[in-house]
Amino acid sequence: MNGVYWFWRLAAALLVGVGAAFLFEWHVDVPAYFLSRFWRIAAPVLVGVAVLLGWQAAVWFSGVPAYVLPGPWLIAKTLLHDGPSLLGALLVTLRITFAALALAIVVGGALAILFSLSRLLEVSLFPYAVILQVTPVIAIAPLIIIWVNDVFAALLVCATIVAFFPIVANTTLGLNSADRNLNDLFHLYGASRWQTLRLLRLPSALPLFLAGVRISGGLALIGAVVAEFVAGTGGAETGLASRIIEAGYRLEIPRMFAALFLLSLTGIAIFIVLSRLSRLLLRHWHESALEPSD
């Protein structure tokens, strides 16, 4: 078994693949419609299949043991076999993720509204929101786990800290970027602060708020996993991070990959759901949600 040798073979295969793709595109005149609709799905799928096949072949021919690098086939089998036990853990992780996202939306949204109502408050508090954001959660998680007795609550706090900043920053920006002339118009017609907030500033902030939520969805998942890594495997109900740590200790690398796969899938699903939600809410008016044909 020669790892370096296999690396070069894989690299060469990759180069050939990329070259073939270029030749295909240069020499075959693909209709624009075909390219836009069909290939947007088919091309990444093809790349994925090619990578999986290459990976499987490399594992087969090199004889790398499964506790170093399992092939995708073995991972799939493990996923099927360990699925039920991993799904329970996934559910725990998901609970923390969504609770953190909800909390981030409520806390972040409320803070942003407060900031937009009082410039003084924004100037005084915003730097601390930044400090909270730039401090790695992995560094403060041990403290939080010591301070907060309940494991679920501790993980929730950590994940929320990671997730809430994009919502605060985006929503504050959105609330402050309402059209100047519309602002004047509201003033001219004697609108109250509350009316201006509800009818002008909140709708103006919606696109940026939703963009923030989309980022925070992924961050909440990352926060939930990272915090659980720090918290360790204690507690009655444990999430996917604990499964990954356990699998690592026991050198059950296929199981580790299976858990990893589930995590990625969850992240993608959250992103897609939140993107759809954003498009749905903005479909009538915002550039980002308009159909290309419009």
Binding site: D184, L185, F186, L188, Y189, G190, Q195, H286
Partner: protein, 248 residues
């Protein structure tokens, strides 16, 4: 003689960055007038209009508004300035909504206003689905739905193509005759001001003052055929000459 609707005395405005926009504007506007404010870009026309609306305060000088004007000023900006997330009907409903009028109570007024601006079938449309001219019509409908005693328009048609602008000029003139409101219309177009208004205030370049106060000598009822007449051309010539003098 009716009471003066709006009067300005020695109105001056300098901004914090040191730019002097207006230097001593005196004028009086009577109820029912259609007044044009004509001047080059950056002469302070928009500033003057914003002071009239109460959106900004003058640095020195005074504005006196008749009691009948309180809460009864409409404003149309250079851009349509619509809420993109709201339908045409909801955009027009806005001023009434802010005044606490319920939707049911406002419905007939909104429908009537949309009809009179040729927007009847677009009530449920969103602004992005409309052309620039139609958006400006919505903006005007929104300003008129409160039945304002004074309507202030700040170069509303400057961004539109000429064909659309001519049509909107015709319609605005007809609306003014129908609604009996007072209009102050800011523009940098001699032709537009002559076609639309009964009285033109020519402004100097920045800092703006009123250099001439001219009466437009044209019939009350006006349509696009007027643009081809000698009388219209004469008026435009006179106003152009006074504008050139004011710029010198």
């Amino acid at each position: 003689m009716a009471e003066t609707l709006l009067a300005a005395a020695a109105l001056a405005k300098s901004f914090r960055n040191g730019v002097a926009a207006l230097a001593g504007v005196d004028l009086a506007v009577m109820p029912g007038e259609f007044v044009g404010v004509l001047g080059p870009s950056g002469c302070g026309k928009s500033t003057l209009l914003r002071i009239f609306a109460g959106l900004i305060e003058p640095s020195t000088g005074r504005v006196e508004r008749a009691a009948s004007l309180v809460g009864r000023i409409g404003f149309v900006f250079q851009e349509p300035t619509l809420m993109p997330w709201a339908t045409v009907a909801d955009n027009v409903y806005l001023p009434l909504r802010l005044a606490g009028v319920t939707r049911t109570a406002a419905a007939s007024r909104i429908t009537a206003m949309l009809e009179s601006l040729g927007l009847g079938e677009f009530a449920a449309a969103y602004p992005r689905q409309l052309s620039g001219g139609m958006r400006m019509r919505v903006s005007i409908a929104r300003a008129l739905v409160t039945e304002p005693a004074l309507l202030l328009l700040d170069e509303p048609f400057a961004a539109l193509d000429e064909i659309t602008r001519f049509k909107l000029n015709e319609d605005l003139r007809a609306l003014w005759r129908q609604l009996h409101c007072t209009i102050i219309f800011v523009t940098h177009s001699v032709f537009e001001s002559v076609f639309l208004t009964n009285r033109i205030l020519v402004m100097t370049k920045r800092p703006g003052r009123i250099a001439a106060d001219l009466a437009v000598d044209l019939p009350e009822a006006r349509d696009n055929a007027l643009r081809l007449t000698e009388r219209y051309a004469d008026n435009c010539r006179t106003v152009s000459r006074r504008l050139a003098e004011a710029m010198a």
